[in-house]
């Protein structure tokens, strides 16, 4: 749905981010209305990272994602209707309703899946990068992970191995300011991107709310990886505008951030900011933005509505996954 093409035009960036935003806003409403079976972790505010990164990837490049994975799924070309159906637990879901929000995957699009284990995607992406290297096809393995996940030891293990083996691995740390309810500085010492340096893995920090900056940094990393130059770590600084998980205010008794802080970041919203930039550059007029937003919203709402009408999976479908059964 969102094009993955290094020559992505600015309007595609905007469109991509809007697709994610509108899908997430719908899920937020669905959650409020009680129509979601399980928990959802929304990506609102971080869209520039997924869109900027995936704009530089081809369909055969691999990504691994996180518990906050809808944005990555959509940006890598996942189908919104199949995603909604999955989050709604329907048979037509991209995983047949077996996985849900934390496991949306579409292998045909190179999406090895969202992941409920913080840091779980790091090993998987390393393996995908190894496969790409063995194939000699110039593919890359890309791992999205959070600032909180940077505390998992497997990150260091992957940096070490990727450096030794010159794997085409791109590690995208989305530093959104929080690890659940802990501000990053309370659980992460130092700057995450600097952790790559001792291994000899190039790394940089980018403004994660600037979709073009993310795309440019990714382009460099992809080029290096495809040319056999090995791994890169990119730390994208962004901000999670919604809660860690929808509905958190219902059970959290302490505040972990201020309204002022949220307001501050809302002014830096990657979508509004990019739209304003395009307007300033004369590449978009205000009505153009509104029209695009309405168009995307319509498509997304239709996808969600139709998914919501799909049937639940049959209980018998479980049998298909029993080992030794066939």
């Amino acid at each position: 749905m969102i094009p993955n093409d290094p020559a992505t035009r600015p309007i595609d960036f905007l469109r991509g981010m809007l697709i994610i935003r509108k899908a997430e806003e719908r899920l937020a409403r669905d959650f409020k209305s009680g129509s979601l079976p399980g928990p959802v972790h929304l990506y609102i505010g971080q869209e520039a990272v997924a869109v900027g990164v995936c704009s530089q990837l081809g369909a055969r490049d691999w990504i691994t994602s996180t518990h906050r994975g809808h944005g990555h799924f959509l940006a890598k070309g996942g189908d919104p209707a199949a995603m909604f159906a999955e989050v709604y637990g329907r048979r037509s879901g991209i995983c047949g309703g077996f996985g849900g929000s934390m496991h949306v995957a579409d292998v045909s699009k190179g999406i090895l899946g969202a992941n409920g284990i913080v840091g779980g995607g790091i090993g998987l992406a390393t393996g995908a990068a190894l496969a790409a290297q063995l194939d000699g096809s110039g593919q890359v393995g890309v791992c999205f992970f959070g600032d909180g996940a940077a505390a998992q030891g497997v990150l260091g293990e992957a940096l070490n191995l990727a450096a030794l083996w010159k794997l085409p691995l791109i590690l995208i740390c989305e530093n959104n300011g929080f690890s659940e309810f802990s501000p990053t500085g309370r659980v992460i010492a130092g700057a995450i991107f600097e952790r790559a340096q001792p291994f000899g893995v190039p790394a940089r920090r980018v403004d994660g709310n600037d979709v073009e900056a993310v795309a440019a940094a990714t382009a460099d990393a992809v080029t290096r990886a495809r040319e056999g130059g090995g791994a890169t770590l990119i730390e994208a600084i962004t901000y999670r505008l919604h809660g860690h998980v929808e509905g958190e205010s219902a059970f959290l008794k302490t505040q972990y951030r201020t309204g002022d802080e949220i307001e501050h970041w809302r002014r830096d919203d990657p979508i509004g900011r990019f739209a304003a930039l395009l307007e300033a550059r004369g590449e978009l007029d205000p009505e153009g933005f509104e029209l695009l937003e309405q168009e995307v919203k319509k498509i997304i709402e239709a996808a969600a509505d139709s998914a919501g009408n799909d049937p639940y999976p049959d209980v018998d479908s479980l049998d298909a996954h029993l080992l030794g059964a066939a």
Binding site: G119, K253, P313, L322
Partner: protein, 326 residues
């Protein structure tokens, strides 16, 4: 007696033990904010030296709990969802479970690993395991599986005072359930089962979250004239063998209900125990009622079908009760 939610009973246990012994400390991810509510308020009350929000580093947490315990503290290590026990498993299996024997008792480890397990909330495949036997099989760790608010409090208080590691597995879907909790310093010994309901015709051993379903089943069955005895082992390792055996000696019939997958359920160890020790008392097959050997699926109809409920238990009991009439 005071009526309380299980999660509050657990909170009380933690607070009382921290009050009682200043060498009790609590470590874990966001134990300050407390996603389940079980550790809520403890940071304010006991301060950040003793209540420590940690980074997402389960491998380290497990080892650190062991090290701090070896060096003289009573450590409560909160691992959040029980699936993250796997992330910390090296320290649990290779260190915590063994150091006592390997050092000939020089090292004793007062560590309580707490986690919340089981399905029922569409948390899907990576947040729904109930890995009590995974830990029980290690041999060196007590495994407590409370099913009521009262036992949760009493077992946890005992766990914290115990000089060996304890894995305390609370049922995710039952935290909000109310129960009567004895006032005062209420403790429940490890390794002691409880007869929840007396009866003469069939013994149901129900583990943790399954007790509620077993109680419902027993109600329904009593209307059919089947007089069920329910045993809650409360501690899955080591088992209170005598109480279970006595019950089966009396009833001659046994159903084991466990939310774990069949291959990793208590149906195994308990069937082995009974089929060895009171074989002559057995009048009918031992029937396991467990989850199938699959990861828990997300879609509510699938999840409901997988996890045992009263109907499954009723069927199992009927199956072996009929034969009793002959």
């Amino acid at each position: 007696m005071t009526r309380k939610r299980m999660i509050h009973a657990i909170n009380d246990a933690l607070a009382e033990e921290m009050e009682r012994d200043e060498r009790v400390i609590l470590i874990g991810e966001d134990v300050g904010a407390s996603i389940f509510g079980d550790t809520r308020g403890l940071l304010d009350r006991f301060g950040p030296a003793r209540v420590r929000d940690t980074p997402i580093s389960e491998a380290l947490l497990g080892g650190m709990a062991v090290g701090a315990a070896a060096a003289g503290y009573r450590v409560v290590c909160h691992l959040m969802y029980a699936n993250f026990v796997y992330t910390a498993f090296d320290a649990i299996a290779n260190q915590a479970a063994r150091l006592r024997l390997m050092t000939n008792g020089q090292i004793r480890l007062p560590v309580t690993f707490i986690a919340s397990g089981g399905g029922g909330r569409s948390n899907a495949g990576q947040h729904s395991d109930y890995p009590h036997t995974t830990v029980a099989g290690l041999g060196g760790i007590y495994v407590a599986t409370p099913a009521t608010a009262s036992d949760a409090k009493g077992l946890l208080k005992t766990a914290i005072r115990t000089d060996d590691p304890v894995f305390f597995l609370q049922p995710t879907s039952r935290g909000g359930e109310m129960g009567e909790v004895p006032d005062g310093d209420h403790t429940v010994p490890l390794g002691k089962a409880r007869i929840v309901r007396e009866g003469g015709s069939v013994t149901i051993v129900a583990i943790g979250a399954m007790l509620r379903a077993a109680n419902k089943a027993a109600e329904a069955l009593s209307e059919e004239g089947i007089d069920v005895e329910i045993v809650d082992p409360r501690t899955c390792f080591p088992l209170d063998e005598n109480l279970i055996l006595d019950s089966v000696r009396k009833t001659g019939r046994l159903v084991v209900v466990d939310e774990a997958r069949r291959a990793g359920s208590m149906a195994g160890p308990i069937a082995a125990l009974v089929a060895e020790k009171v074989f002559d008392s057995l009048k009918a097959p031992i029937v396991p009622v467990t989850t199938r050997d699959l990861a828990i699926a997300y879609a509510p109809p699938l999840e409901q079908a997988m996890i045992p409920g009263p109907t499954d238990i009723i069927e199992a009991v009927r199956r072996i009760s009929k034969e009793s009439v002959t």
